[in-house]
């Protein structure tokens, strides 16, 4: 199988979050098909479709997670081929994402992490209850463009401010785009602490991340 038929099946397997089917398809085609085309013409349109369905309320977090899981499994097979061919999937930017110190809520953060992946970002999730120093350490390690901090409670949002203050104290504020979000976070709070971006919904945040990256690259 190759060409449009292969791309269609790859797309469908991603949309259905069917890891087994996707891995089988990749295994069957990896030696004969162009690995970059498999990603860009097959799997990526599947991720875009599931992301759009999610934004429209036609798909939910389980579908998003299953699609991301299938994607990751397939990429384990495809990445070595891409490297060998000297090709790479274009990334919009690198994001370190986490839920702030003392906050254990992850759903919103997980949704955004998946939507950012779908949107073409290289995402590094540091989990929950993450102090400011952990955000910065990972950002330095992976050469991040964006630090995205989630906080769901009024008692945990102050820790978003700590991240910005830590960056300022190290003279690194200009190196990173800082985005904040979460249940009780508002645009007013984001402005007050000097964050670069805020999205009420995860889908808004992806668009804002794209805009901020475009601005950064243009700068």
């Amino acid at each position: 199988m190759k060409g449009q038929e292969l791309f269609g099946k790859l797309k469908q397997a991603v949309v259905e979050g069917d890891s087994e089917q996707l891995v089988d398809l990749v295994k069957g085609a990896i030696d004969t098909a162009d690995p970059l085309a498999m990603v860009e013409k097959g799997m990526m349109p599947g991720m875009t479709e599931i992301g759009n369905r999610f934004s429209e309320g036609e798909a939910f977090l389980p579908e998003l997670l299953m699609a991301a899981e299938a994607w990751q499994e397939a990429m384990k097979l495809i990445k070595p081929k891409l490297l060998a061919a000297g090709a790479s999937v274009e990334k919009r930017g690198t994001v370190v994402i986490g839920t702030v110190q003392t906050d254990i809520h992850e759903i919103g953060k997980n949704i955004l992490a998946n939507l950012l992946t779908i949107g073409g970002f290289d995402v590094h999730d540091i989990g929950y209850d993450a102090p400011a120093s952990k955000f910065l350490a990972r950002a330095e390690e992976v050469g991040a463009d964006i630090i995205a901090a989630s906080a769901i409670m009024s008692t945990t949002v102050p820790y978003q401010k700590d991240i910005i203050e830590l960056l300022k104290s190290r003279g690194l504020r200009d190196r990173y785009i800082v985005m904040v979000g979460g249940g009780v976070v508002t645009q007013e709070w984001a402005d007050q602490i000097g964050a670069d971006g805020y999205g009420e919904l995860a889908s808004d945040a992806v668009e804002i991340a794209k805009q901020l990256m475009a601005k950064k690259k243009g700068a």
């Binding site: 977090l61 389980p62 579908e63 997670l65 003392t102 759903i107 008692t155 102050p158």
Partner: protein, 455 residues
């Protein structure tokens, strides 16, 4: 019912797995399986279905789900598991009534049934962010609503000029301060024994709850103390510490949970079933004698879409018909305070929960976000609604809800922002300004025209 010590033993000996494994390999497949097996289907034409068979299937699906997934303890990375028989035994033995407060302000709260002719428990107030300068007056205003049986007190986000960050000493000071303010406010309202049942909104840590429970600060075990898991069906040692302390004290423990439509539970059907599973978690793990649920949709953020009304109606009916313990639901309107849309959304949500057989609480404006957004007039609306619609059936409610949705759903994604407490109240008298009074009179008249009654 199995003991709390047994629960703790299972938290330290149950099957080990990563949280990702629990979410992806255990929880999500189990939700999908029971939704399919028990044929739970959301019908947008009937957001508040009058279908006892559906309600009982939601109950059975929730029971089976909880017996499959249990509660995940994040500190031990183990699953606290229960058999179906253990869950059913716990449901049979759990208290079906709870007593709150002291002296003449003491109240008894029983479970209700769908289409019940019994007055629902009217709970008022809000645990949302409130500035310290108005917190006392807000509590006093809530206490003056004589039809209100219990209340939620505001959340202070500061201790003096410092932010009350979670886990910090400032959080403990804010929690203690709010407890003092609340008891003082209730004394000023002439209801010193009225129970506060959302303790404690000013803190998110177990140590904050324990610190603020000292009777010196005005706390009582006849108040209601909330223990929260996090989505979905996960608990920390911090929350179990609260249970260990509160149950040893003999305090009323409330189980609260906010399952998410669009989250791990999937759509409205899955979220309805997960809402039920939380009730079992509450009885067994949180040792709760009363239950608060506040499911919320992730996009758009609110509780008043057709899917959300279906979720809260069916899960409430399932709970009321098969468990019968004190239960109430908190809704979040998309619209801001002091807007007509807020009252349309609030009426739709209250119609759904009251007719489905549970207690009622103020619907929170502006998705519960922002500061000083809750208004005393919201609480008056809740109580006038509860008394006016005693005996309303699900069928009647469904018909009115659909008409109200016709008014607010076109604006749900871009709702009006409204005016906060400072902008629409006289803070000396705690009375609404003329503009809000006019709006309230108009909206009540309009709602009466749709068949909603107020008393």
């Amino acid at each position: 019912m199995i003991s709390f010590l047994e629960v703790l033993e299972r938290a330290t000996t149950g099957p080990m797995m990563s949280v990702k494994e629990y979410d992806l390999k255990v929880f999500i497949p189990a939700v999908r399986e029971v939704v399919k097996k028990y044929r739970i289907q959301f019908d947008p034409e009937n957001p508040c279905p009058a279908d006892n068979d559906l309600a009982d299937r939601v109950y059975q699906a929730g029971l089976e789900l909880y017996s499959k997934v249990g509660t995940y303890c994040t500190d031990t990375e183990r699953v606290i598991q229960f058999t179906k028989q253990e869950i059913e035994q716990a449901v049979y033995e759990c208290p079906k009534a709870v007593y709150f407060g002291e002296g003449p302000d003491r109240v008894e709260w029983h479970g209700r049934k769908p289409d019940d002719n019994i007055l629902p428990h009217c709970h008022v107030g809000s645990g949302t962010n409130t500035t310290e300068d108005v917190a006392l007056k807000m509590v006093e205003a809530y206490g003056r609503i004589t039809r209100a049986k219990t209340l939620s007190i505001p959340s202070l986000t500061t201790a003096g000029t410092l932010h009350a960050s979670a886990g910090s000493p400032m959080e403990i000071l804010a929690a203690i301060n709010m407890m003092r303010i609340a008891r003082d406010g209730l004394r000023r309202a002439g209801r010193p024994g009225m129970a506060i049942i959302d303790l404690h909104p000013s803190c998110s840590s177990g140590i904050g709850t324990i610190a603020s429970s000292n009777p010196e600060f005005g706390a009582r075990k006849s108040d209601g103390w909330i223990v929260a898991p996090h989505a979905e069906l996960k608990i920390t040692f911090d929350s179990l510490n609260q249970v260990a302390y509160l149950s040893s004290w003999g305090a009323n423990i409330g189980q609260e949970a906010g399952p998410m439509l669009g989250g791990y539970a999937g759509g409205a059907e899955g979220a309805a079933v997960v809402t039920l599973a939380y009730a079992f978690h509450g009885i067994l793990v949180a040792r709760a004698t009363y239950h608060l649920t506040y499911p919320i949709q992730m996009m758009p953020v609110c509780s008043t879409t057709p899917g959300m009304i279906f979720l809260i109606s069916t899960s409430s009916q399932a709970f009321a018909r098969n468990i019968g313990a004190p239960y109430y639901a908190l809704g979040y309107a998309a619209a801001g305070p002091a807007t007509k849309q807020y009252f349309y959304e609030a009426a739709a949500y209250l119609l759904a929960i009251q007719s489905s057989g549970i207690g009622i609480e103020d619907v929170h404006p502006n998705k519960g976000v922002g500061t000083n957004q809750a208004l005393p007039i919201d609480s008056e609306f809740t109580c006038e609604f509860g008394h006016g619609n005693t005996g309303i059936t699900r069928k009647e409610a469904n018909s009115i809800i659909k008409k109200l949705m016709g008014k607010y759903m076109p604006h749900i994604k871009k709702p009006p922002k409204g005016r906060n407490l400072y902008e629409c109240y006289d803070l000396e008298t705690m009375k609404p300004d003329d503009e809000l009074k006019r709006l309230y009179d108009e909206v009540i008249k309009e709602l009466k025209g749709y068949g909603v009654n107020f008393k």
